[in-house]
Homo-oligomer: 375 residues x 2
Amino acid sequence: MEFELSATADNSRARAGIISTGHGKIETPIFMPVGTAGSVKGIHTRDLRDDIQAQVILGNTYHLYLRPGIDVIEKAGGLHKFNQWNKPILTDSGGYQVFSLGDIRKLSEEGAKFQSHIDGSYHMFTPEKVIDIQRSIGADIIMAFDECTPGDADYEYAKKSLELTQRWLHRCFNQLNNTEPKYGYNQSLFPIVQGNTYVDLRKLAVNHVKEFDADGYAIGGLSVGEPEQVMYEMTEVVTADLPLDKPRYLMGVGTPVNLLESIDRGIDMFDCVMPTRNGRNGMLFTSEGTINIRNKKWENDHSPVDENGTSFVDQYSKAYLRHLVISNEMLGAQIASQHNLAFYLWLVKKARQEIINGNFAAWKKEMIEKLNQRL
Amino acid sequence: MEFELSATADNSRARAGIISTGHGKIETPIFMPVGTAGSVKGIHTRDLRDDIQAQVILGNTYHLYLRPGIDVIEKAGGLHKFNQWNKPILTDSGGYQVFSLGDIRKLSEEGAKFQSHIDGSYHMFTPEKVIDIQRSIGADIIMAFDECTPGDADYEYAKKSLELTQRWLHRCFNQLNNTEPKYGYNQSLFPIVQGNTYVDLRKLAVNHVKEFDADGYAIGGLSVGEPEQVMYEMTEVVTADLPLDKPRYLMGVGTPVNLLESIDRGIDMFDCVMPTRNGRNGMLFTSEGTINIRNKKWENDHSPVDENGTSFVDQYSKAYLRHLVISNEMLGAQIASQHNLAFYLWLVKKARQEIINGNFAAWKKEMIEKLNQRL
């Protein structure tokens, strides 16, 4: 994997770059649609590529491991073959999902024992096993196995947790170096910077991950309940010390405003379920602000879903989309999800252009004012 | 509306024709995807037109009347504008839906009083009101308001019900003739032949509807619980006496085999929720037989969903589709629905070609053998 820095903004850490992988290039900053179980909910692979113009999508190790299972994905020839997405894929390590299981998971030095949310069966994830699984899935970018602490963890817990994540990182890289890719192309392992909301822990964490000279670095444990300003502060602390010549990925973030604020702080990659999950509930993100399409005010608004939208679904009318969402018609969830993803991809593409054109700061200010509006 | 008979099969009542409407032509025999609440479940209008190649779709008066309501559809400029389907639309009269409500509807000479399945509110459908509603929806083909009897109704009930349907038909045509289309194109009213499973009632019903010299005729009250052979027998009885120069529509039917058997008996138009409803449950219809994609045998079958399929969704693998359906991923329901509709449209198109080529009987025999297989 290579990363080329194309441009940097003045008076900002915002950057435009290009990541090259075995499945093609990714222009950064980029948003990655989440394909939890190997499918971005409600979206055909063809539309993901041609209409939404996604450049890289996410898969979830935890979900894919439980269903369809690694054997099926291996026999397909990897996830790219299984879901027919021929562009780059990133898989998370399952650390966040296991953390989310709460009472039905137990951590030890060895790893995390957990029960399947599907059938209650017991499973064990270790750093080694998670690397092996990600070798079988075959994503271009794979993630280290980490512990993600809750937003309100106290210092002692956060410190002990970080140290565990650091020991696990060594084991992840050892396993990576002792194994080969299964499908003939390289896989890049990204360490995850943890440390909760404690500046000194975040700094310790950054210094530790830098030792591995990885192809890229992720920031985890944010957007898990802490105030937004704290998230931005932690992001700043981390990006200040990360190497400039490697991509930075802020995991699980966020709203369109979160994206712009984080790009400003030097983030290159994002993923979040928000565009699809909120879309299914009838919330639309647009360049003029957010729309709750269930609102009565749209009942007889026969104008397009988004006049400025880039997706073909934007040509349906607001009144029609409102009717579909209120009637629980599948097509409503499909249209709203596809619109939101196309908007997220437009937003990061536009940010990239503005960085290259030297106009990022002014554009961002204007854009955030509009994004904060409720239509 | 005009109907041109292009070809008839030898030793069969099968016909190939062309219906011309204010929204373009329909080549018969045709299958009409069901867009209950103004959307064919899980299918983008674009794919319905370009991928599935539907020529006409159905809307349900009962559902559209309750939600979004007639006011919204009128303000949109009719259903074609509302759901952006620029080809022909047919609406049923709501008779069948009201019949399905069971305990929460009550019939009288005046019409049917019923409670909304959404909020329990009371409503009254009369023949006049149903015509008015269909004027507002603006379908190219609209249906008479009738009573649909259950498959096991006794003779006396069936006879009384038929007489009510006949009196209502007069009122429907009176209302049609006393009102104007709202959107500048003609709307054709099809009477519905009832009579349950009683040959003499069906014959009475046909003779009655013929008096109206309508643009086309529908057969209702079949596929509601009676044996399949009885359905075919009733269809034969009715088509024997219907005028040759008008299209015949068998309502709510059916499986691919039902379609071929009914085409053979002189039917030109069909609608059914089966391709989408069964698709959502993982049942696929193909030219080689039916597939239950949930079956373990497809777990590692990485061949296309349907090698002979005409839709782009047929290029996903069986193993991937099985995974999506079992995981309740929306995309699974979307792929299966789209495949099934594309297959139904392929089947009637192929039947049409074979009728024109003079090979319908031989092709039908061979096809039915394959359709009856379980893969």
